[in-house]
Amino acid sequence: MRGLAQSYREALARLRVQALLDPDSFSEWVDPAQRVTSPHLAALEAPVSFDDGVIVGQGLLYAHPVILIAQEGQFNGGAVGEVHGAKIRGALLRAVRDKPSAVLLCIDSGGVRLHEANAGLIAISEIMRALFAVQEAGIPVIALIGGTCGAFGGMGIVARLCDVIIISEEGRIGLSGPEVIETVKGVEEFDSRDRALVWRITGGKIRRTLGEATLLVDDDIAAFSAAAGEEVGARPRFFKKRRLTPAISLQTLQAAQQQLSARAELDAEIRDGQVLWSRMGLGDQVSLMSPEQFNRRLEALES
C-alpha cells in the first residue's frame, strides 16, 4: 500500500536513526527519559524537548560500528543550543575514545539557537574542535544532509569540515540563510521566496556540481544508508568518490585558497546554478535528472 520510498526529508530524526542503521542496533546516550532539556528555553517560557532536538548514540551500519548524531530539524529549526551542542560534542569525543568505523552526522539545522546565542556559538566552536579531533584520530565523519532545514550557519561550516557529504537534491548547504541575505542586502540581491533560485544556489545538485558535496542521493532513507555504507567499506562503491577534505596542512589550505580565489574570479558573473550547468553543457535537463543520472554525468565531466 506504500506509495513511495521512505522520505528522508519528511522523517523525524528518530525515524531516520532507526531506518539508517541495522535493525535494533542503536543505543542512545542521554536519552529522552533523562530529561536533559534546555534551561534557556524554559527560562523564556518557550517549549522544550526531551532530547533538546538532537539524538546521539551508537549502532551498527551494515554491521560496522558507528556513532550517530541526528539533529531534529522540526524542533526550533534544528538550531544548536547549549545542551544540544554539548551532546554533539560529547558524541564526537566519544568517537575519539571508542574508534568506531565512522561518525554519521545527520545535519538538519538553521545554525545557532537565537534563544541561547552565546552558549550556542560556543557550542559550535566546540563541535568544530571535537570534529578535528575525530579526524585526527583517523575516523571519517560523514555528513548526511537532506532535512527541511539543510545545513546553515554554524552547522553549514561544520558540514564543510566533514570528510564526506551525502546530500539529496532537497538538501541545502549555506552560511547565511536566504531570508537573512534578503533582509540585509535586499530582494534584488536574493529573492528568498523564489524557491527554485534558492535551491539552484544552495541545494544538493549545485553543491555536488561545485565539488562541495561528495554524492547526490535520492530523498530516501535507504539511499542515504547505502551511500554511508559504501563510505565505511561495508558496501561496494557505486561511484568514484573523493574525500572532500584532504589532511589539513599549510600546503593543502593554501591550495584550497588558491582554488577558491580562481573560482571567484572565473565565476564572477555566475550568479545562478543554471548558468553554470548551461556552460557545462547540462542545459535545462538538470532539474529533472535523477541523482544517479546526475552523478554519472558529473563523473564523466570531471574525469
Partner: protein
C-alpha cells in the same frame, strides 16, 4: 384613432450603442485601441449608471482594463453598477472608493474580502446580492445584462477575432449576454497575432481590443503543494474513499480545492488501488486541471475531466493527454465555467469540499466576521439538483437512504463536507451559530451567506469519523449525528453519549475502525506524491510548476 398613439421606438438600445461607438471614434483605429488611449476611450464611451461587467475570474483577470477603468475621472464616469463573478484585484475595490462604481452584484471576493466588508460598513458600496456562479450568469440574460463588458483574452487578430487560451472561464457567457443585447465588448489581449490558433470569440461580437502592456494576471489557485497535506487529512481521505466513494460507487464527481480533497486525489492510486477501486470510482470529473490529479490520471483512475478554467503550469500536460481533457483542434485546453458548473450541478453524483464553519443543522459557511468572501463553485455543485431526471447507482442509493430504504421517485446527490474539527486552537469548525448570521446583521444583507445548506449535505467527514445525514430520521438525530463527529469542540463535547452510540450502532455514525481503517496507516507515506517534484515526475516532466512551487 391610431393617429393619436405616440410612436414608440423599438431600437433604443441599438441607437444608444451607435452613439457610444461614435463617441469612441477618436480613440481607436478600427477595433484596435492603443493602451495609452484606453482611459480616454472608456471615459468617452461609458455613461453614468452603466451596468459593466469587468471580467474578474478565479484565475484570469482583465487587470489592464480594471486599472484603466479605475484611472477614469469620477466626474465623467460614476455610479457604475458592476456585475462580475469575482472581485480579486485592488483596482476592483478602488472603483468603489473613488465613486466610479456604486453598486455590485457578484459571486466571490476571496482576496478582497476584508476591504469589501469595510466598504460596506462605510456605506461606499451597495451590494445587490452575493450569487452562485450559475445564478449570476443566468441574471446576465434576464435583469443584469451588461451594457459594457471588459474582458481578457490571450490573443486577437487584426479583425478582432479572439483566442482565449486555456483559461476560458466566464468569457463566453459574458460576451454572449453583452454582444447580443446591443452592448459594447472590449477585450484586453496579451498579443496580436496574424493567425490565431483557434477562434473562440468571433470578431463580429467584439467592438474593441487592446494589447495590454503586460500579459493578464493568472493566479495558480488550484495548485496544492502536497508537502502541506497532514496525516489527519490522509485519514479523512481514507474514510471518504472507503466509506463513500467505494460504498456508493461514485463515478462522476467534483472536488473542492483544499488540501483535504487534494489528499483524496493523491490517495486514489495508492489506497484506492489497494481497495481494488480502479475503474469503479472517480472516473469522470468536473474539475480544473489540478496538479494533484496527475498521479490518478497516470494510474488510469481518471478517464475524463472537464474544466472551468485551466491551471498555470499544466498546459503541456493537458495538451499531451487529449483523451482525458477537452482540448481544441490546436491542442490547447478549452474550458468554460458556465458549462462546467452545469456539469457539476446536473451530471455529477458527488461533491466534496471543506468549509470553515458548520452548524448543528449542517449549514456550512466560509464567511467569518469582518470578511465578505462570497461563494466559489461550491453552492451549485454542492446542492441537490431538483431538475435532474437521469439515474445512476450512486444517486439512487443515496435517494433510497434518504427515503427510509424505500425506492424513491428521485435520487439524491452526495454532498460531503470534510473538515477537521478544530482548524487550530481557538477555532472550532463546528459551531452553534454560524458567523454568517452576525455578518448578515452587520452588513445589512437580505440573507446570511451560507455556502451549502444543511438539507443538501449528505455526509460529514471529520478525523473522528463520518456522519451519514441521509439516514437520520429526525432533527434531533441529525443534530446528534453532527455532534457525534464534532470531536472535542464545545459542540462535540455537548453530545448525548447514549444517542451517539445508538447512531453508531445503526451505522449513521461510523468511526475509522468501523470502516476497517487503522489510524496508524494514515501517514503521508500513503500519498502518491509528497512534493511538487513528485508531481512533475509523475507527469513525465510535462507539468511545469510556477517558480513559487519549485525547489529546483
Amino acid at each position: 384613432m391610431n393617429a393619436l398613439q405616440p410612436i414608440r421606438t423599438w431600437n433604443h438600445e441599438a441607437l444608444r450603442r451607435q452613439a457610444r461607438l461614435e463617441r469612441s471614434t477618436p480613440f481607436s483605429r478600427g477595433k484596435a485601441v492603443a493602451a495609452r488611449d484606453m482611459v480616454s476611450l472608456l471615459e468617452a464611451l461609458l455613461e453614468p449608471g452603466d451596468r459593466v461587467c469587468l471580467e474578474g475570474n478565479n484565475q484570469k483577470q482583465a487587470d489592464f482594463l480594471a486599472e484603466s477603468l479605475a484611472a477614469c475621472s469620477p466626474q465623467r464616469v460614476h455610479d457604475l453598477h458592476l456585475v462580475q463573478s469575482v472581485l480579486a484585484l485592488p483596482a476592483h475595490i478602488e472603483l468603489f472608493e473613488k465613486g466610479i462604481a456604486r453598486r455590485l452584484d457578484f459571486s466571490f471576493a476571496g482576496p478582497q474580502a476584508h476591504r469589501l466588508a469595510r466598504l460596506v460598513q462605510s456605506r461606499s458600496i451597495e451590494i445587490g446580492a452575493i450569487h452562485t456562479y450559475l445564478e449570476l450568469f443566468g441574471r446576465y440574460f434576464i435583469d443584469l445584462t451588461p451594457q459594457v463588458c471588459l474582458i481578457a483574452a490571450q490573443a486577437a487578430d487584426a479583425e478582432g477575432n479572439l483566442y482565449l487560451g486555456p483559461n476560458t472561464e466566464d468569457t463566453p457567457v459574458i460576451v454572449e449576454a453583452t454582444a447580443f443585447k446591443s452592448g459594447i465588448v472590449i477585450a484586453q489581449v496579451n498579443e496580436q497575432l496574424e493567425r490565431l490558433p483557434r477562434v473562440d470569440i468571433p470578431a463580429s461580437w467584439v467592438d474593441f481590443f487592446v494589447v495590454a502592456p503586460t500579459p493578464n494576471h493568472i493566479e495558480p489557485l488550484f495548485t496544492r503543494d502536497p508537502r502541506h497535506i497532514t496525516e489527519i487529512q490522509v485519514l479523512m481521505a481514507m474514510m471518504a474513499i472507503k466509506g463513500i466513494y467505494a460504498e456508493y460507487g461514485v463515478e462522476r464527481l467534483n472536488h473542492g480545492i483544499g488540501f483535504d480533497t487534494a489528499a483524496i486525489e493523491l490517495l486514489l492510486p495508492t489506497y484506492g488501488e489497494s481497495l481494488g477501486l480502479k475503474g469503479k470510482i472517480a472516473r469522470y470529473w468536473a474539475l480544473n486541471p489540478h496538479p494533484t490529479l496527475i498521479p490518478a490520471i497516470e494510474a488510469g483512475f481518471v478517464e475524463r475531466v472537464h474544466s472551468f478554467g485551466s491551471e498555470v503550469g499544466m498546459e503541456a500536460y493537458v495538451a499531451a493527454r487529449p483523451d482525458i481533457f477537452f482540448p481544441g483542434a490546436d491542442g490547447s485546453l478549452r474550458s468554460n465555467r458556465a458549462f462546467c458548473q452545469t456539469a457539476g450541478l446536473y451530471a455529477c453524483d458527488l461533491f466534496i469540499g471543506s468549509t470553515l464553519q458548520i452548524d448543528l443543522e449542517g449549514n456550512s459557511s466560509t464567511a467569518t466576521l469582518g470578511r465578505i468572501t462570497g461563494f466559489g463553485g461550491a453552492p451549485n455543485m454542492g446542492s441537490d439538483a431538483r431538475g435532474r431526471r437521469h439515474a445512476s447507482a450512486a444517486w439512487l442509493k443515496a435517494g433510497q437512504e434518504k427515503n427510509g430504504g424505500q425506492t424513491p421517485a428521485r435520487g439524491q446527490k452526495l454532498v460531503v463536507q470534510t473538515v477537521e474539527t478544530w482548524r487550530e486552537p481557538g477555532h472550532p469548525a463546528f459551531v452553534e451559530r454560524l458567523d454568517a448570521w452576525q455578518l448578515k446583521q452587520d452588513m445589512g444583507m437580505a440573507l446570511p451567506p451560507i455556502m451549502i445548506y444543511g438539507d443538501d449535505v449528505s455526509h460529514i467527514v471529520t478525523e473522528e469519523g463520518m456522519a451519514n445525514l441521509l439516514l437520520c430520521r429526525s432533527p434531533e438525530e441529525r443534530e446528534q449525528a453532527i455532534r457525534g463527529v464534532a470531536g472535542y469542540t464545545p459542540v462535540g463535547m455537548a453530545r448525548d453519549h447514549a444517542l451517539v452510540e445508538n447512531l453508531r450502532d445503526r451505522g449513521i455514525i461510523r468511526r475509522p475502525a468501523d470502516m476497517g481503517i487503522d489510524v496508524r496507516d494514515a501517514t503521508r507515506d500513503l500519498l502518491a506524491a509528497r512534493s511538487i517534484k513528485d508531481l512533475v515526475r509523475a507527469s513525465g516532466g510535462l507539468y511545469q510548476p510556477p517558480k513559487q512551487f519549485r525547489n529546483w
